[in-house]
């Protein structure tokens, strides 16, 4: 009996205490929910349109739920050789390119995090300048051309090899997440710089490494323009470049044949978008848990 009284008392108090707060929380929830809907709806629309009858899509009947569910769009996608070749090359560029990025970035971040690094200030200044000033697109291409990277798919792997921003993110991670005691213990055991890094530092840096992998991999995966800029042969096009050609097609003209082509083209636009997006959206939640404050907050010092 007393318990119940206490509970009602508590409840009454709570409501009294936060009446203005209550209004605030409701408004806050509404805004956040609206934002969520704005994010979800376009994605939802692409999914339902990709499995609907193309005629219904083209007349605008599909907007809330799929109509006459069909997977012919996906079937047609399987026959597109260019897409699968693009897929293969994108995977190749992404895996090799990201490995290259990691090999350059993580050790650099570690070195910069050590106060005793010789020429530390000079190196920092050299890196920071590139964040705000660069030669620009055309000189970049001239230099790459001189290095024999023009029309060479290798550029899709080694291009954008070091992001200075990411190096600094690693640096501040190492500064705040590697305990001094571990390093001192290593020093007493006689571990050199190399041993320290590989045996002591890397094993406790999994979170920053996976975040870096995600950042760089997304960059490689999404890159479409380098294939144009460097005039890469179309048989080496990555997926996004192939996709751009596909999505940019505007069909015109009249007659039944063209109408049929248009239906197929519309459908394949939706399905290819899904095929190209799913892998990265699957990878992301696996790494999302590492986006803790520790990794990201330090990057702005």
């Amino acid at each position: 009996m007393e318990k119940q009284q206490l509970r009602t008392l508590k409840r009454q108090n709570k409501i009294k205490e936060s009446k203005t707060d209550y209004v605030y929380y409701v408004i806050c929830a509404i805004i956040l929910a609206l934002l969520a809907i704005i994010i979800i709806y376009p994605l939802y629309y692409i999914v339902i349109a990709s499995i609907s009858d193309p005629d219904a899509v083209m007349t605008g009947d599909v907007w809330l739920y799929p109509i006459k569910v069909t997977f012919s769009g996906y079937a047609a996608l399987f026959e597109r050789e260019d897409i699968w070749r693009g897929y293969f090359f994108t995977l190749l560029y992404t895996i090799l390119g990201t490995a290259f990025n990691i090999v350059l970035t993580i050790p650099a971040g570690w070195a910069l995090s050590r106060q005793y690094l010789p020429f530390r200030k000079l190196i920092m200044v050299l890196l920071i300048i590139t964040m705000f000033f660069g030669g620009g697109l055309v000189p970049y291409i001239i230099i790459c051309r001189a290095l024999g990277l023009y029309q060479n798919p290798l550029i899709l792997i080694i291009g954008g090899g070091v992001s200075v921003y990411n190096v600094f993110m690693c640096k501040s991670f190492f500064e705040s997440n590697v305990p001094k005691e571990v390093l001192e213990a290593g020093m007493i055991d006689g571990a050199g710089e190399v041993r320290t890094f590989f045996d002591l530092v890397l094993p406790i840096s999994k979170s920053i490494i996976s975040v870096m992998i995600l950042f760089y991999a997304v960059g490689h995966w999404n890159n479409y323009i380098d294939a144009y800029i460097f005039n890469i042969d179309s048989q080496f096009y990555p997926l996004q470049t192939v996709l751009n050609g596909l999505l940019d097609q505007t069909s015109g003209g009249e007659g039944d044949v063209i109408l049929e082509q248009m239906r197929a083209a519309t459908q394949i636009k939706f399905t290819s978008i899904i095929i190209a997006t799913v892998p990265i959206l699957v990878l992301y939640p696996m790494i999302e848990k590492h986006f803790g404050q520790g990794v990201l907050v330090g990057s702005f010092k």
Partner: protein, 344 residues
């Protein structure tokens, strides 16, 4: 075996150093007289001797940056040349033309259009895109349910991982000709041709900014959320005691706490204001909207690069990045004066 002796030697070195240091401290200046001339230099040399190995860790990245960031800066010389694709930057047959490429660029009848298109696109983008993540972070942070907060965060981050090509593809399927919006507007009795937003110059900026924010507002909020999670809960408790509502506490507790982060982000984004991503603009360009969608960096791409006018392209790119540097310096200076915090 060799390895072990090596380690032992290292260990000995380390001990020796410690002992030396101890001696030095004990009898003060006795040993120091030798290198009194350049104590700092000696110190530096000793440090280098001990730690030069770590240079090998940063060397690959440094070499990469020098080749792919600093050599292109040297390539800016092309802006003062009559350059043919395939030439070397400075060679025996280089034709120097002084400021002629800049003159060509500035005297282009559309130069001012390109400049203002860039400026307006970026400024509008900044005005919408800068406060939005802050507001979202403040709202998310005030949620009481940890689960709801986490779930919304995951959802809000997700669009960041959609590629530009796919993003613009989606935009066209929804807002483009024969897209969803056009079909719906025809159904509701609008123009038979639909709205054709992608062919209208006045629709380009809203579409660009809307889609950019759709993709990135959640992602940009991360940094503020991280800063907010560092706010001492006792501050909130104290404010509560004083009768501050949750809404009031946003202004008197949360905002002051993340102000340094806000200023830092502001300097960074003002310093990059004139870079609004030609990759996406190129994807969204159509014959119809060129009037507003041709910006400096797309001009560099289409005219300079694809058109083979390397000299003029370099000049235009240089113009763009010089403006950026000026903006950065101004932003940094202002925040130093006004908020007493700056990057340098």
């Amino acid at each position: 075996m060799q390895n072990v002796t090596g380690e032992a030697a290292l260990q000995n070195e380390e001990t020796q150093r410690l002992i030396d240091e101890a001696y030095e401290q004990m009898d003060g200046n006795a040993d120091r007289k030798k290198d009194k001339k350049h104590p700092k230099w000696e110190q530096w040399k000793a440090n280098f001797k001990r730690h030069w190995w770590i240079l090998l860790f940063i060397l690959p990245a440094l070499i990469y940056v020098i080749i792919f960031c600093y050599l292109p800066m040297y390539g800016i010389l092309v802006a003062f040349q009559d350059y043919m694709p395939g030439d070397s930057v400075v060679g025996p047959d280089t034709i120097w033309v002084g400021w002629q490429n800049f003159e060509t660029f500035f005297s282009n009848p559309n130069f001012l259009d390109y400049f203002f298109n860039t400026f307006l696109l970026c400024v509008f983008g900044f005005l919408v895109g800068f406060p939005l993540p802050i507001i979202v972070a403040l709202l998310l942070n005030s949620l009481r349910s940890k689960k709801a907060k986490k779930g919304l965060q995951i959802l809000y981050y997700a669009p960041h991982f959609i590629s530009l090509v796919v993003m613009v593809g989606m935009l066209k399927l929804i807002f483009g000709s024969d897209g969803l919006l056009d079909q719906l507007s025809i159904k509701l009795g609008g123009d038979v041709n639909g709205l054709q937003l992608f062919l209208k110059p006045e629709a380009f900026r809203p579409l660009f900014i809307f889609s950019g924010n759709w993709q990135d507002f959640g992602w940009s909020a991360i940094i503020y959320l991280a800063a907010l999670s560092g706010v001492d809960p006792s501050l909130h408790e104290a404010a509560k005691m004083d009768g501050a509502s949750r809404f009031r506490r946003i202004f008197s507790v949360d905002l002051p706490a993340i102000l340094p982060t806000i200023i830092m982000m502001m300097i960074l984004s003002v310093g990059n204001l004139m870079n609004c991503g030609y990759e996406k603009v190129l994807l969204m360009q159509t014959g119809g909207n060129l009037e507003t969608s041709e910006i400096l960096s797309t001009y560099v791409y289409t005219f300079g690069l694809m058109g083979g006018q390397y000299g003029v392209g370099t000049a235009a790119g240089l113009f763009n990045s010089v403006i950026n540097v000026i903006l950065l310096v101004i932003a940094n200076f202002t925040s130093k004066k006004v908020a007493h915090s700056s990057m340098w």
